[in-house]
Symmetry: C3
Subunit: 438 residues, 3 copies
């Protein structure tokens, strides 16, 4: 925990490696949680499509990441392509073999990183799904996920977690420990969140979302029980994610996992309650969907710093996230006319940025605070100033080649019937839109 450390891999005892491995196996529950939330917040006529999208994201991202993504992400303390600037070497892309050829897949930290990343790139890929609800074609979902898993994600992950230039800010420039992001508030959540923003802009709002005068209509989620169930699974998955990430990327000792689990839970709890209170105050009643979004926002914000927060600080990080997520969701919808059905931008991008800042603001990492602030800000600037344009550009190009938004009939008919040929609930009577409770 000394400052100005070189990026390195942890050296694990067998017990630590086994702990880390089993924590990684909790991560898919986070994916299950996000998939449920996406599907539940969308319309019933797109519910199967939403789950099918999640399964395709999981499948495509695992395949693409194994084939090329990891080759470009790599791990710390291994040779990479580096630029020499001001006499220092700055890594920008890894040079591992494609398709994991020749790599030892055992309990070594680098093999564990591959496994964790195979799951967490899927998590990042599920974030834009919820922004694209009810209008994003399945083929485009697969192609866009391939771009994320094969290019955007590994690039930033190399910089932050693979020993690249953001991680080197500590050693090279004396900025604290370099960019610190244990569980991926930036590397997973903001990367996914800015991709979600790009997707909402490229797709445009759902039909009927904004009136001719630009007033947004509420389109309630079709199954709030699934949404809230998803929160519980996400909480379990995030404990695994934050713990395994901190062990592998910050070399924290196994004992910290207890603190991480407590902090992660407290963050989610205070964020969910804060969102409930804020919606109660604003709308007269607590809003279940926004409370769920608050819960997830707390998890997102907890990721970067959970290993370094005192429990009381975790409550603060969560509380702020819960307030932020409601205010920003409103701002995006009313002021910027962005139609983000699942709130992915406010939950994952905005609260991810907040989580990254939390490391410097409230973290207890025992390093020069000013330097750490700067390292975190450089990371955020890179996410917003480089990764966002990159993912926007890639998805814009994809849209030229293969239109990402479904045709008009598809949207009127519902994604399930139009793209999959069958509804999610073929035996249930469903209201027409005019009867929707609003």
């Amino acid at each position: 925990m000394t400052p100005f450390v070189a990026p390195s891999l942890p050296s694990f005892s067998e017990v630590s490696a086994v702990l880390c491995l089993l924590l990684i196996f909790l991560v898919p529950f986070a994916g299950a949680g996000l998939a449920l939330i996406n599907s539940g917040l969308g319309r019933s006529r797109s519910a199967a499509h939403a789950m099918m999208g999640a399964l395709c994201v999981a499948a495509v991202s695992a395949l693409v990441y194994v084939v090329i993504g990891f080759a470009w992400q790599g791990v710390a303390a291994r040779p990479d392509h580096a630029l020499t600037i001001a006499g220092k070497s700055w890594g920008w892309i890894a040079t591992e073999p494609f398709f994991l050829r020749g790599l030892r897949l055992d309990l070594s930290p680098s093999a564990l990183i591959i496994l964790l990343q195979m799951f967490s790139v899927a998590l990042a890929g599920m974030i834009p799904l919820s922004s694209g609800s009810d209008r994003w074609r399945l083929g485009a979902i697969c192609a866009s996920t391939a771009l994320l898993a094969g290019c955007t994600y590994p690039l930033f992950a190399h910089w932050a977690w693979g020993g690249g230039w953001l991680a080197q800010l500590g050693l090279n420039s004396g900025l604290g420990r370099g960019f610190v992001d244990g569980g991926g508030s930036g590397t997973i959540q903001v990367v996914g969140g800015v991709t979600a923003l790009a997707i909402t802009w490229i797709l445009g709002p759902r039909r009927g979302k904004f009136s001719a005068e630009g007033m947004p209509a509420a389109l309630p989620g079709h199954n709030v029980v699934l949404v809230l169930l998803g929160c519980v699974f996400a909480g379990i998955g995030w404990i695994g994610l934050n713990s395994a990430g901190a062990m592998l990327f910050l070399s924290v000792e196994p004992g910290r996992v207890v603190l991480i689990a407590i902090d992660t839970t407290l963050c989610a709890a205070s964020s969910g309650l804060a969102a409930a209170v804020v919606t109660r105050v604003r709308f007269g009643r607590p809003d279940a969907s926004l409370t769920a979004n608050g819960w997830i926002a707390g998890l997102v914000a907890s990721s970067a710093a959970a290993a370094f927060l005192k429990p009381a600080a975790a409550v603060i990080v969560g509380g702020v996230a819960g307030i932020l997520v409601v205010l920003v969701a409103d701002f995006l919808e009313f002021q910027l006319a962005i139609d983000d059905p699942g709130g992915a931008v406010s939950v994952h991008a905005v609260c991810g940025v907040w989580g990254v800042l939390g490391v410097a603001l409230l973290g207890d990492a025992g390093v020069s605070v000013a330097g750490q602030w700067l390292a975190q800000l450089v990371g955020i600037a890179t996410l917003l100033g480089f990764i966002f344009p990159l993912t926007y550009g890639l998805n814009w190009l994809l849209d030229r080649v293969y239109r990402q938004r479904v045709r008009r009939e598809g949207e009127l008919q519902g994604m399930d019937l139009f793209e999959l040929g069958a509804g999610a609930y073929p035996e249930f009577d469903i209201h027409g839109d005019d009867l929707l409770q609003r």
Copy 2:
């Protein structure tokens, strides 16, 4: 395993601590299971409210427990407030710091206890939820949960698990090993179950539950698939709960976890089947909801003694629980006119008591059986004679300050629309009550 032991913390190797930590991470699945069962057994017009209640219980109990609950629960072999009676010192409340300040949150047994308890107090808090279905206000749920997590639960948990007077019955009075309750049949389930009883009494029955002549009407759960799915998750979570509890509070060696998992599964299996057979005999058809209740009752009954039961004894413990749960549910409804929609009193209070007795009756703990019987009975007497009045009194006082039952319109309209402003399934056509299959 010698008799007349002083309450103590286990001394864990690193491997044991890691095992225990990972077992604790299974516990939230028990919460997910109970939440699904609550929501599925309730009405569709309160389904989102039921899940929202569960999420709020999880959030409030984690926060309150961390802030004050643990301070009063504490762990064994640490200084506490004690009364000296007959020359012996009897601990009644712990004196740990609020907000976990200054505590080491690592792989030590006391830190693992904090983590386990943060999850299991939420489990206890979910029990009354199912008794209050369709009429308990969200604000009251949060306040009542705070009383449970901040007062009732930690008090009894100090006595049973924190080295307090019930645990000291072995050393101080020669009563076997003192009160034994590995996974919380008493400390979690009965505490939650008597709170559920208090809540049903304070709230009163649902409108339409009892006719003018006092005959109860069947109000079937709105989604039996979720109810039965919840059973599977609960089973997984309970394995973690029973194992981690036995390791931390009974100092069993890690190898016992295999026995505990087998016993827990056998208990649930035989209890579920017993409930199916009993309802088949009584009503001509096996009842799915009561079979689910039987499954959970088996888990509840398994908790106290799973570490000390031979597999055949586990089958007996479960079978009895499955019969009890059906008979008692009927008795409460028809004889006492208690409206407990999810059956929380029969499942958690009654079968929890049965589980506590099972330690003395069938357990294999190698101690003076008569003394152990007495210790278990003293524990049960305390739960029914002290904890029940306490939780009733606290909730009665709360009801004076903040009415716990929703207003009449709320109940007619459904909790979702009235309290949350939106239904759980806004796109689905729902029957009026008159068309309900009964």
Copy 3:
């Protein structure tokens, strides 16, 4: 890993045993996944029955396996009943005590095998459930599961995993390492899959499935969201299953678990995508139910060889499974007029056979390939030539004693109302069949 090894138990360090134990606790999620898929692929009027069937399978199989199943399965390197043929001893049935009496239930490999098998026999039992959807009586489900857990399954499992004659093919006849099936592509999936085939034949097709001219009608699943959610849980459970199985039955070192997890995920991913592409090509649109079946087929195929496949080979195993599952499902329905609502025969039997072959075709086990081919083929021949007739015969006999198919009224009314007395969704409006989207 030398060839021609005698069947033996692994010798675990404490860390390995703890890892294996915790992996086993993931297996019930596979059961939850299959239960969700079964229920979602069936009709809404049988949805509670499907879940109730799954819970009963879990309960009955755990009880029966503990009481008699394990006694006949046993573990390697312990005395069993053996036949001496050509001067070699060939084990055919184990001789362990009933009800686990006197066995040490701790972290020893044999105790871990008992625990794993208690869960995986339930998995095998859930496979026929999906073939019998909408017409298989609950009592018959329980009885048939008892036959599986008490006879068919333990018999083959003794041969393959308990040191019996299939495992001895390596040492006795020089056939590679003997029959190799790490996670149960044959021992769990094919055994379940051929039982499913027997059940479909004994029950006959659902009313309305085939027209007078023999043309099958599509009867879409009632809840595709649950089906796809089930895939995620199955994926998590299968990682546990494949890893624990390989550790216990193939003595692989703990480090292989990382490879197994990557291979399992890649298999599911490529199989799911392959099924989506094949249905897209054949029907113009990707089919969500068949994609889910493809995902599960990939998991099924991964089980036998996951510990020995390079990642690229895992992608091939999965891709072939995904193509097979669609083509075979069509063939069974159109050519053989088999009504298998959940596709259990193509998913579990056919892709299970493919997984068993994969060991010889693509596995990297470092043994004489010709001998290994022969060992795998002998295993498959035994499954199809002995276990299938055995399970058919047992279920045919059962059908004489206790008719397995529900009466005509039951099928018209729906299994939920007829057998359980209440529907799964009593408050929702459900279409009549004539309005079903097809």
